[in-house]
Symmetry: C2
Subunit: 192 residues, 2 copies
Amino acid sequence: MKIKLGPSPIVFPMPAVLVGTYDGGGTPNAMTAAWAAACCHQPPCVGVAIRHNRLTFANIEVRKAFTICVPGTALAKQVDYLGIVSGKREPDKLAKLGLETSPCPTVEAPMIDACPVVTECRLHSQLEVGSHTWFVGEVVDVHVAEQLVGEDGQIDIDALDPLSYATSAGEYRALGGPLGAAYAIGKELKTD
Amino acid sequence: MKIKLGPSPIVFPMPAVLVGTYDGGGTPNAMTAAWAAACCHQPPCVGVAIRHNRLTFANIEVRKAFTICVPGTALAKQVDYLGIVSGKREPDKLAKLGLETSPCPTVEAPMIDACPVVTECRLHSQLEVGSHTWFVGEVVDVHVAEQLVGEDGQIDIDALDPLSYATSAGEYRALGGPLGAAYAIGKELKTD
């Protein structure tokens, strides 16, 4: 038996990532986002929902670019801080946290150096939904800390140790253990 | 030092959920999706990226509705199967897996009974991105297995035991242990 909890925008689990942008003057900013996902294969795109009053919203509109920076669990406190404190009130928030940035090679957005995976995005399109806009970025490159990349060219997900956000409980989570390979473990259920 | 892996649409971690739809004749379908996220607070909306040739794509266009059904890890094999086998080739794939469905109270989409959390969505808007369309659903209600709802009205994330998808490794993962409360653990980094 299911009970009705009323409307709320939930998906489990969510990622907890940082959205990197520059303002018009070149100051880097990062905000925490759990409302982000891959959203197209060709061209390769990721999307993120941003509230209209955010500094990140204004920065994306100006620079037409952003990064999705994937932190490891060691950055959980910094990630939480960057979700609490706005760059409008605290323009130096990255510096105060000791988080250094580097310019992306191609687009006008910063990479958070401490994040082992950075997706470099050029603004592709956007959809006004309501309180939030869904910004779609075309991925021009993915930058990964070299110690995370195996001989097969794949990202070692255990070495990355990404952060999750579990909404209803309002807490950060680590990723858990393996449950089987995709496009593989379901094959045994085929009946023909 | 970071190395360039080239463009690909990655975010870590991703959810692994089922998108429930009815076709024009009323046959329920479910496909696996990792490219899904919350995308608006007001109105409450979630989004999911669907490739144009999918049965789910056609079904959403006809019914203007879908569900996001969150499975527990016990359903990992079924979830994988539903990502491998199209409802176009196997219209009875849900029945073959023994997965029963119930109609949503408000919209024309099925709830997968075995999924402990079901988000009931009316199509709100859509964005053509390329190979995929980003479908935004306004959440009209969230249905949760009653044993998962605590006295505080919150969903017990450990009892839910949701599935993650870790792209680069191409495997399903469980959710791991708690790392601290959101809007809380970052406060100690405030300097004023």
